[in-house]
Amino acid sequence: MAKATRVSFGERLAELGATHPEIVVFDADLSKSTQSQIFAAQYPDRFFEMGIQEHNMIGAAAGMALSGKKPFICSFSTFVVGRFEAIRMSIGYSEANVTVVGTHCGVAIGEDGYSQMALEDIALMRTLPNMTIIQPADDRETRGAVDFLAGHPFPAFLRLTRQGVEHIHGDDYHFVFGKADVLKDGDDAVLFTTGGVVYNSLKAAEALEKEGLHIRVVNIYTIAPLDAEYVIQAARETGRVITVEDHSIVGGLGGAIAEVLGEGQPTRMKRIGMREYGRSGSPTDLYVHYGLDEAGIRKQVAAFLADHS
């Protein structure tokens, strides 16, 4: 059953409120959307509704972190990460123990259109040397990520979906920080993917398997620090690399992997993701339009392998 990672986040954060008195939560007038409302209802003294003030929310959370609290600050990813210079100074450079929670990432938010879509947030946050970046792909991964971040004493960015995502893990899943997560074996090429398009990528690879193409699918939920060792190993073993993400192909997962491979294992690559400003439409129609649905990914991967066989 599909469940949005923002919902998994909101539920797990509220559960952690009981055992982590140092956790405080901020929102900027979007608590019903980010799901910080669940924590707010249970721990009103430790929830701070800041109004529509993302800059001030970033600074105030940094101040609370620097005086001993563990803040999670929540908004649409584009609104909070868009106030990047405040994050850079007050959280990053100050090494304030704040987790920036950006929901509603990617074109999959749908009809609201580009102004509400975060398509550049990973690229921005990746430039900060001490910023941990986690983008979970399903409910269990999100819960594991929230547990991890609650005890993580460094600045972090958690990128979450508006849309529901299917389970990719079973009940026995355990979150391991910083590790590439191999979902499907294969040696014809390796496909690295993250977040809300992991499921579509996996389905595309399974369809290609029936056509005789053996695509390894690797879920990268820890985008920073990247498991560079595994990325290089997988590129060496397969010789061809594909990346799939609901984010700009510049500076996101595709960019991160290209940087690692350019230095460590130059490999032919195909980056699938956003190359333009997004538009309005239903999430389903947008994924079809931008080639991020199962069929679109399958076609692009097949074409890439045909060109570079």
């Binding site: 109004g51 800059h55 001030n56 600074g59 105030a60 959370a61």
Partner: protein, 324 residues
């Protein structure tokens, strides 16, 4: 001989040492910036030994003006105007209210101080040195590549600095967050924040002014170093803040307006600001950019340039005249 040379045995340092009755500490190991301020380098009784009467503090402030000139001269860059306008405020604040000393830099219940106008950091380093938190001789390493004294405040280089600032308009929000923590935990400590008039033009400043009053943070005390100048010209020609007191009152702040070079007035305003009646406190301190050095007392000319040898010598002579 260049009396301001970084290598020179520092006469002024000896003067301070004699006054405070302390030994000049050995030069401490570089490349360990996170540990530096946690090491009790000086006699921890230093503050108790210091003369904290108002006339003594006035003298201390002027002695630290010499430190500021020496630091900026040694660095070859920096912001004399906004450091000299600030030092009287910081002197009263640190030696009577924040009371930062080597034995309380990491105390969770310590009073907090955020220098939002980060370019005034030479004044902060001067009071930290005089408090015994950092070795006085290290002041001359300001802005050098192996120094923990960064050109703008950086808490990870020097833990006695509470927050990294220098990108204007962000410090008040950080101070607000610290005041929120004190309220949440029911702790009695105060949070002090010094802002500049130029940075008050930043939108984030007004977000925090709106928000801190909404949260009734009466444990937050803001002092404006209103020196009337910014890089491109007089502040209220560039972008007028006035009527500032009326705006702040309308934002539901407790507002006081003082002469920011009158040690007694600064002390009285800070004493009044200790009361907690549901409103955050804002002290508009009218100051003069470059205060204490006649040729630096200009709204913009000495905003961001270091004195050369002759200028540093002339400046120190003028300030020394104030000490006699």
């Amino acid at each position: 001989m260049n009396r301001c040379s970084i290598h020179e045995k520092d006469r002024h340092l000896r003067v301070i040492s004699d006054i405070a009755g302390i030994d000049v500490p050995p030069r401490i190991q570089r490349n360990q910036p996170r540990k530096i301020a946690l090491i009790p380098i000086h006699n921890v009784q230093l503050l108790k030994q210091m003369d904290l009467t108002l006339p003594a503090l006035q003298r201390s402030a002027n002695e630290m003006r010499i430190d500021i000139i020496r630091m900026l001269h040694a660095a070859g860059s920096g912001h004399p105007g906004g450091s000299l306008s600030l030092i009287d405020i910081l002197t009263v604040l640190f030696f009577r209210y924040v009371k930062r000393s080597p034995d309380n830099v990491a105390d969770p219940d310590r009073h907090r101080f955020v220098l939002s106008k980060g370019h005034g950091v030479p004044a902060l380093y001067a009071v930290l040195a005089r408090s015994g938190v950092i070795p006085h001789e290290d002041l001359l390493t300001l802005r050098k590549v192996d120094s923990y004294l960064q050109g703008h405040p950086h808490n990870r280089s020097l833990p006695a600095v509470e927050a990294s600032t220098g990108s204007l308009g962000q410090g008040l929000s950080i101070a607000q967050g610290m005041a929120m923590t004190a309220k949440l935990d029911g702790k009695p400590y105060k949070v002090y924040c010094v802002t500049g008039d130029g940075e008050t033009q930043e939108g984030q400043t007004w977000e925090a002014l709106l928000s801190a009053a909404h949260f009734k943070l009466d444990n937050l005390i803001v002092l404006l170093d209103y020196n009337k100048g910014q890089i491109d010209g007089p502040t209220n020609d560039i972008l007028n803040l006035e009527p500032l007191a009326a705006k702040l009152q309308a934002f539901n702040w407790d507002v006081q307006e003082i002469d920011g070079h009158d040690i007694g007035a600064i002390d009285a305003a800070l004493t009044r600001a200790q009361e907690e009646a549901g409103k955050p406190h804002y002290i508009i301190a009218h100051t003069v950019k470059g205060k204490g050095v006649s040729f630096m007392e200009h709204p913009t000319e000495w905003h961001g340039k270091a004195p050369n040898n002759a200028e540093a010598d002339a400046a120190i002579k003028e300030i020394e005249a104030l000490l006699t």
